[in-house]
């Protein structure tokens, strides 16, 4: 078998060494760095893209949070505005109510006084008329000229006695 022909060993080993070392140098200096460069570049690109996606997601969430905060603030201020308006309306209504009350009670008092005065006047005139009637009646019945000044106190006393 040619495998065991020792005369070829030196040549085969020599050329094995030459070609193997050449291949080793070519692989380690040229081929492998080029391949690993590309693989690393791809890996970096992928992780960059993932990072970017992560960042964009975080930004989106921050934007959503800001929006919701703004919404909540707006809602709260609207509520406050409504409450303030309601309160102002209620106060105004109460003020007007009180004002109207005052005006009305003043009118009532005034009217009552007027009624009192009218009644007093009327009562005073009733006594005078009663005295005149009494004097006339006395003159016709007793044919006595009754003095108005004499009759008036008597009429007044009678009226008082009868609770008029």
């Amino acid at each position: 078998m040619p495998h065991f022909d020792a005369t070829t060993f030196a040549s085969q080993l020599f050329w094995l060494a030459v070609t193997f070392v050449t291949l080793y140098v070519l692989m380690s200096k040229v081929a492998l760095p080029r391949i690993s460069d590309i693989l690393e570049e791809r890996q970096r690109r992928i992780s960059d893209d993932l990072d970017m996606a992560e960042r964009l997601k975080a930004e989106t969430e921050a934007a959503i949070a800001t929006y919701e905060k703004a919404l909540a603030t707006a809602r709260a201020s609207a509520q406050a505005e409504i409450a303030r308006a309601l309160e102002a309306n209620a106060a105004e209504a109460a003020a007007r109510h009180a004002e109207m009350d005052a005006v009305l009670s003043a009118k009532i008092t005034e009217s009552e006084e007027r009624i009192h005065a009218a009644r007093r006047d009327a009562l005073a005139e009733v006594n005078g008329i009663a005295a005149d009637v009494a004097a006339a009646i006395v003159e016709r019945i007793a044919d006595v000229k009754a003095d108005a000044d004499t009759v008036a106190p008597v009429v007044a006393a009678v009226a008082k006695e009868r609770g008029l």
């Binding site: 070829t8 030196a10 085969q12 050329w15 094995l16 590309i38 570049e41």
Partner: protein
């Protein structure tokens, strides 16, 4: 009909003699040079576009690269990364040699025991030097399994020693024998195709099957040679 082992004959192409030593450029040397050229052109050419999204050739190269890188990482463990160029070169040299040999009329340098022995001894010496450089004389613990009773030392140490020293033999013989036998088988069946005339269609069908099998064996043996080198490297780096 030619002898089935004629294909393994070493034929000088350019006779060179240096100091009485014959280092002629032979058909074996020619195929080693072709293998270097093919491997380099394939690996650099396919990556020349440096595409971020690889094409078919670039994918193949990247797969081979990651295949060898994973093989080394899984079998040799930490600290083995700096030997990656060597392991990769070893894998490509054996793989391309095996595959080139399957081309009709070509020569298979990995079928020669002296070539595989050269590679195996290189691995063996390299691993032994790395082992002693890393662990000093502690590397001798390789020859006595951790935790075994000391009384077994007279039996265990010679066994471990023999198993360690037989590594380059098993490594080189396995590859050379596989390649030689495969090629003899192809040649013999090929001979039947001619000699059986019209009936030669049967061995012709057979030879197609065997060729596919040999393609598989070519890749498998390159893998085995490399993975065993990785395991030996693991022993040197981390002991058992």
């Amino acid at each position: 009909m030619a002898s089935p082992i004629e294909q393994f004959a070493i034929k000088p192409i350019i006779p060179i003699h240096v100091g009485g030593v014959d280092i002629s450029f032979t058909n074996s040397a020619l195929y080693m040079v072709i293998a270097v050229v093919v491997a380099t052109v394939f690996l650099t050419g396919a990556m020349s576009k440096r595409a971020l999204i690889p094409g078919r050739l670039q994918s193949m190269v990247e797969m081979i690269f990651e295949f060898v890188a994973n093989m080394l990482r899984e079998n040799a463990g930490s600290g083995s990364q700096k030997y990656f160029p060597f392991i990769f070169t070893l894998f490509m040299f054996v793989l391309v040699g095996n595959l080139l040999g399957l081309t009709p009329y070509s020569f298979t340098y990995t079928s020669h025991i002296i070539v595989t022995a050269g590679l195996a001894v290189l691995v063996f010496l390299g691993v032994t030097v790395i082992g002693f450089a890393k662990h000093g004389t502690g590397y001798l613990r390789m020859f006595f399994p951790h935790g075994a009773p000391i009384i077994l030392a007279p039996i265990l140490v010679p066994i471990e020693l023999v198993s360690y020293l037989s590594r380059p033999f098993s490594l080189s013989v396995r590859l050379a024998a596989n390649m030689t036998v495969g090629h003899i088988m192809l040649k013999v069946i090929g001979g039947f195709v001619i000699s059986l005339g019209l009936l030669g269609i049967l061995p012709f069908a057979g030879i197609m099957g065997v060729t596919i099998l040999e393609l598989g064996i070519a890749c498998l043996q390159a893998y085995i040679f490399t993975v065993l080198s990785c395991i030996y490297l693991h022993d040197a780096l981390h002991l058992h």
